[in-house]
Amino acid sequence: MSSAAVTSSRFTSGQAPKWLTPAVGLAAIILGAALSALIGFSVATWALFAGLIFVIAGPILIGIIEGRRKGSDAFARFLVYGTFLIALIPLVSVLWTVLSKGIPGLSGNLLTTSMNGVTGVVDNKTAAGDQPILGGIYHAIIGTLEITALATIISVPIGLLTAIYLVEYATGGPLSRAITFFVDVMTGIPSIVAGLFAASFFAFATGSPSTRTGFVAAVALSVLMVPTVVRNAEEMLRIVPNELREASYALGVRKWRTIMKVVIPTAISGIASGVTLAIARVIGETAPILVTAGFVNSINFNAFSGWMATLPTYIYYQIMTPTSPTSPQVSETRAWAAALILILIVMLLNLTARAIAKAFAPKTGR
């Protein structure tokens, strides 16, 4: 359709021309720069003034041309776009910072060695340019993967079974109300409290107050994961239409088989992404790991004995207590690289969950 045909129509007359919005945007940017120069130029004030002018002037102009309703529509629309852009700033900024600071530290050595034997002397030599950065995050990757996997193994069955009880079996009695209440309370537990709970529980159970292993950390993380998994799985199971359950019952299928083979497969994609979100929430925990798994520089594959390091605790220690206090930039480089790896692991998990969701999602098509 040609634009001439559009503008000549009686239905489209009286509309603001298409170039108006970009033109207002351009004018806002220029005026914003000028205004910000008046009070001392900076990018922040420039963006602020440009945004304000655009959000105010654009709707007023459109309102004058097209009427009050269209004007308020434009105002709301520009506000939505603006808040979206503001919400993007931290995300883009975090990604940019981690990428730009983390990529220089990435190397095969980083991924395949631990910090065992890497001392301040080694780092000072690196800072002097005598050798590449030695020492790596292998032990921390192992720790993160093992502790998170253990936490997932503990909390997914508990959380999923609780959700199944709440949705499929509970009849609104005191037990289900109590479970819902306590799950809500658990959602609000600060992570350090969960860590202290696990540490003191195992100190009590084993009789030695210094029991710190990867497993204790996994228990602490499960305390944080279980409520997330329950809430999410509950939501997902509730949106499975009752008709499917009835159809299954009407075929003479038992209730638990109906749950296993009809209800859960229908909801599996949502449950999988909920589990991923729960994992992503706990994989970055630092404080509960420090009080439950301690911190080491060497490789420990056994989550049931000995202290373990994870990526977050590794980053924390590299930044707070650099291996060489006189040249902390070497430790900082390692810390940023570790942060990048942590983000990559979470992203990989997300992709896996999406793949699972896609494989199990209700099929469409003819």
Partner: protein, 259 residues
């Protein structure tokens, strides 16, 4: 394969609320029985008591007897799952399992119960069930496509195929055509006519022409007012219900004077 149903003094409750009161009725094998009546009069509720689907709803219960060839469905120790495998049900809205293909949907009754079935037997069962539901020719080339990709009428016939694949004695249909267009409705009605050769069919319908077309006997349910229990007003051969009903309420209803 077809069994007779005797209902004696049946009261149906939702919690303390009496939904259907004092139903007595005998449904002959190899026949089609239609339940008609205004909305909320308890037709569907009553239908769901015939295969113990009623009690799936929390607080729902039943007093009285429903006998399938003389065996009381509500006797002590009766497993509702066994009852449902003998009394199949088709619902108002087509509800194929969205995670399954057409073939898997037909085999759902077998597979979900973890019964082992040889591949050739499964193929035969799929074909005979789909042929039984008048759907085979339309879907034989796309059995591995999802069941939710079919049209509404085809989905409903797929649900009927799924029900007859478990070889029940009785098939209950709860307004099976209310979501379908006239052509699909006709296909389902033809199917009901064929099904009665082998099964006892009970159908709830809001469409009186449909009841007149497909059923041998018709039961008219009515309700005295909101909050009152539904009652079986008249149960007679379909011809009689539509041509010379004994009850004034039935005559008013079938002639369209109310409801």
């Amino acid at each position: 394969m077809s069994k007779r149903i005797d209902v004696e003094d049946l009261n149906v409750y939702y919690g303390d609320f009496l939904a259907v009161e004092d139903v007595n009725m005998t449904i002959e094998p190899r026949s089609v029985t239609a339940f008609i009546g205004p909305s909320g009069c308890g037709k569907s509720t009553f239908l769901r008591t015939l295969n113990r689907m009623h009690e799936v709803i929390a607080g729902a219960r039943v007093e009285g007897k429903v006998m399938l060839d003389g065996d009381d469905l509500y006797a002590k120790g009766v497993d509702p799952v066994l009852v449902r495998s003998q009394v199949g049900m088709v619902f108002q809205r087509p509800n194929p399992f969205p995670t399954m293909s057409i073939r898997e949907n037909v085999l759902a009754g077998v597979r979900l119960n973890n019964r082992k079935i040889a591949r050739s037997d499964a193929d035969d069962l799929v074909e005979s069930s789909l042929r039984g539901a008048n759907l085979w020719n339309e879907v034989k080339d796309r059995l591995d496509k999802p069941g939710s990709g079919l049209s509404g009428g085809q989905q409903q016939r797929l649900c009927i195929a799924r029900s007859i694949a478990v070889r029940p004695n009785v098939i209950l249909m709860d307004e099976p055509c209310s979501a379908l267009d006239p052509i699909s409705t006709l296909a389902v009605e033809d199917l009901i006519n064929e099904l009665k050769e082998e099964y006892t069919v009970v159908i709830v319908t809001h469409n009186m022409q449909q009841a007149a077309r497909v059923s041998d006997k018709t039961a008219f349910f009515n309700i005295a007012g909101t909050g009152k229990p539904g009652k079986l007003v008249e149960y007679a051969p379909t011809q009689e219900i539509f041509n010379n009903p004994k009850q004034k309420a039935t005559e008013d209803y079938v002639s369209g004077r109310f409801g």
